[in-house]
Symmetry: C2
Subunit: 219 residues, 2 copies
DNA sequence: CCGTTTGTTATACGCATGTATAATCGTGCG
DNA sequence: CGCACGATTATACATGCGTATAACAAACGG
């Protein structure tokens, strides 16, 4: 009696690919890129290592797919945030910012995941293109929201403002995720909203009534 | 005649340690953490792999030392920037910000290096302490510079402002380093100074006369 | 209900990694 | 000048990695 061969079920290509991609993301988020080995990914996804090469030409291709999925997911979260809320420009901008500074976007695992891919982004032109597209898409959404604000602006002004707000949000995202104990609950969102308000010359804190998990920490 | 044993010179402990640390940093900056193998580090430092274990108990200890050196170096750059310049609070703050958004601090290698250590920072309490100390030191310097500005402030205001300015600078640092082609020369510094000005309610762009490599891109 | 297809597992290979230990030789001290 | 210490090199080892390939079995069509 030899060790029985492992039982399995056939699944759709899509479900297997997403399972492998999710497993990769989880492992990188937990233990950095070096923890995402072929064997660990397979175990997490509930398959054996060989199957990875059946769905991805190489581990590098799986890596690229996981990065693409990460970036798509994060930009999607931002778009979702401005879907439901009321039509006021300030409301929409405030919701967009708050969504980026709250879980699940504000999350140490997400930051580690993002950081773990950074050097691959720089060396792989394909990943660089994905990164640039996601970054510019986010910044573009931000800029469009800024342009809808009731203000009179100089030409070229909103571009610089969008860059600044994007950088501010990114920085708060990293630090709020990495050192959550350093901030009071909701403090990161409050700081983000008031700082963006200062940069743009508006008052977003007056338009936070509809935001979930907010209002209790701001006087 | 067998292959001659490699000639060598004895060197001080300090020079060997710094050589190994620098080699580690260079390799991580160039190719990510996975490129910094024991053999590659030794070759870059001009020694053989075994010597690493003579000066560091393990590769992990060398890694920790390299991260500490990175953080110390980056905070030192900021302190240097406010040493020479004139006594005006605005000048000093402007110089501090500009120094963080200009090479050698603004550099893709530095960002990749910083990002490459991120997951180790989260999992290793020792590195976490180093990170937190460096982050808070930087923020503290920033807050002290902000407090010297001629303004009347509410209690607790400067803390939030320091967090915001720190996040803004960090975000510009990352994006300016990773996508330098996206920005006009000096644009990152200009945006940083004008945004911090807006957040703090001052005008730093009027106090950039003494900044090197500046003034030509701002009207 | 059988045969074919192909998703999935199992096994093996070559290589690189971090570490341990022994051999060597540069160097400061007596 | 010689000798002993230890900084440095050399070699070896176990392990884990990504990859290649063959064997197997689950599901579907006939």
């Amino acid at each position: 009696m030899q060790p029985a061969r492992r039982l399995y079920r056939r699944e759709s290509e899509e479900s297997r690919r997403t399972a492998l991609i999710s497993a990769t993301q989880e492992l990188v988020a937990e233990g950095g890129p070096e923890a995402a080995t072929v064997r660990a990914i397979a175990e997490r996804a509930g398959v054996t290592p060989g199957l990875i090469r059946h769905y991805f030409q190489s581990k590098d291709e799986l890596t690229r797919a996981a990065y693409r999925a990460l970036m798509d997911g994060m930009t999607a979260k931002g778009s979702d945030a401005i879907e439901g809320v009321g039509a006021g420009p300030e409301e929409r901008l405030a919701a967009f910012i708050a969504a980026s500074l709250r879980p699940p976007v504000l999350d140490a695992g997400a930051v580690v995941l993002w950081a773990g891919y950074m050097h691959k982004v720089r060396s792989d032109p394909d990943l660089m293109a994905v990164h640039e597209a996601a970054y510019l898409a986010y910044r573009d959404t931000l800029q469009r929201l800024i342009e809808t604000l009731p203000r009179t602006v100089l030409p070229g002004q909103t571009r610089a403002e969008a860059i600044a707000c994007n950088a501010l949000i990114d920085g708060l995202w990293v630090e709020g995720s990495l050192l959550p104990a350093t901030f009071a609950p909701g403090e990161v969102i409050t700081i983000g909203l008031s700082s963006v308000s200062a940069i743009l010359g508006v008052n977003l804190l007056e338009h936070t009534a509809m935001l979930p998990d907010f209002g209790k920490t701001t006087p």
